[in-house]
């Protein structure tokens, strides 16, 4: 690889997502998927996403089974900083604006 390509590699180095990105992903997952998955399925999915995002794209299905078996739902809750209330308020406001006549 020549110098220009090396510069290109440095220019395209991995970028970390913004702060609390994982929180927003999980919150969106809960909002969209809750009705389809049910409560238990949501937490399995949420734990898996955290494992992916925290570990950098690796998922351990054994770990998920252990978490489920060990009733780690409360531990997952503590680990998340979910802005669910704020998100709901924004959505309500947007819906109110959309429902107003022109």
């Amino acid at each position: 690889m020549n110098e220009f390509e090396q510069n290109l590699r440095e220019a395209l180095a991995r970028r970390r997502p913004p702060a609390r990105f994982a929180d927003r992903v999980v919150e969106r997952m809960r909002f969209v998927r809750r009705s389809r998955l049910g409560w238990a399925g949501n937490w399995v999915a949420a734990v898996a996403v955290v494992a992916i995002l925290a570990g950098g794209i690796w998922i351990d299905t054994n770990q998920i089974r252990r978490v489920r078996g060990e009733r780690a739902k409360d531990e997952v809750l503590l680990a998340f900083r979910i802005t669910g209330v704020t998100l709901r308020n924004v959505r309500e406001q947007v819906q109110q604006i959309r429902s107003q006549p022109d």
């Binding site: 220009f4 510069n7 395209l12 913004p18 898996a48 794209i57």
Partner: protein, 159 residues
Amino acid sequence: MVYSIAYYFFQDMTTAEEIAQEVFLQLYPSRPMPQTRAHLKRWLRRTATHRSIDILRRRGRRLEVQMDVLPEIPVGHHEHDPLLNQRLGRMVGSLSENQRAVIILRYGEDLDVREIGDILEMPAPTVWSHLRRGLAMLRDKFSACVTEEEHERVRTESS
């Protein structure tokens, strides 16, 4: 990885986060979870890249390289210069969608031509073609940028 691919496609944090969220939302629960790290990596890269290309086509425009937005690059100090690399990263956003994808996957994700072809569903010769053309365009833009700044420096010093 997912965010990174989307970011270099659009050079925009908001768009990159939207795409990254959509990719993770697609992962669960409607499909079987990838059982190995390699499968998951491949799936994430593939989905992020295709999603980015889809959105780029829908927007129907290329990212304009706004050279005056970036800070001045000190002339004569190019090796491993972060400002230079920042500008080079933005230049990638001026490439066509396929060239952009190939360049990002090759130099950002360190994939070989076969792996890139697998993700983009392209034969290897096509990947090579996009890679060569993309590199040639970037070199031309980069050279023009550095040359212009050198001329400016000479003018400034001589005045």
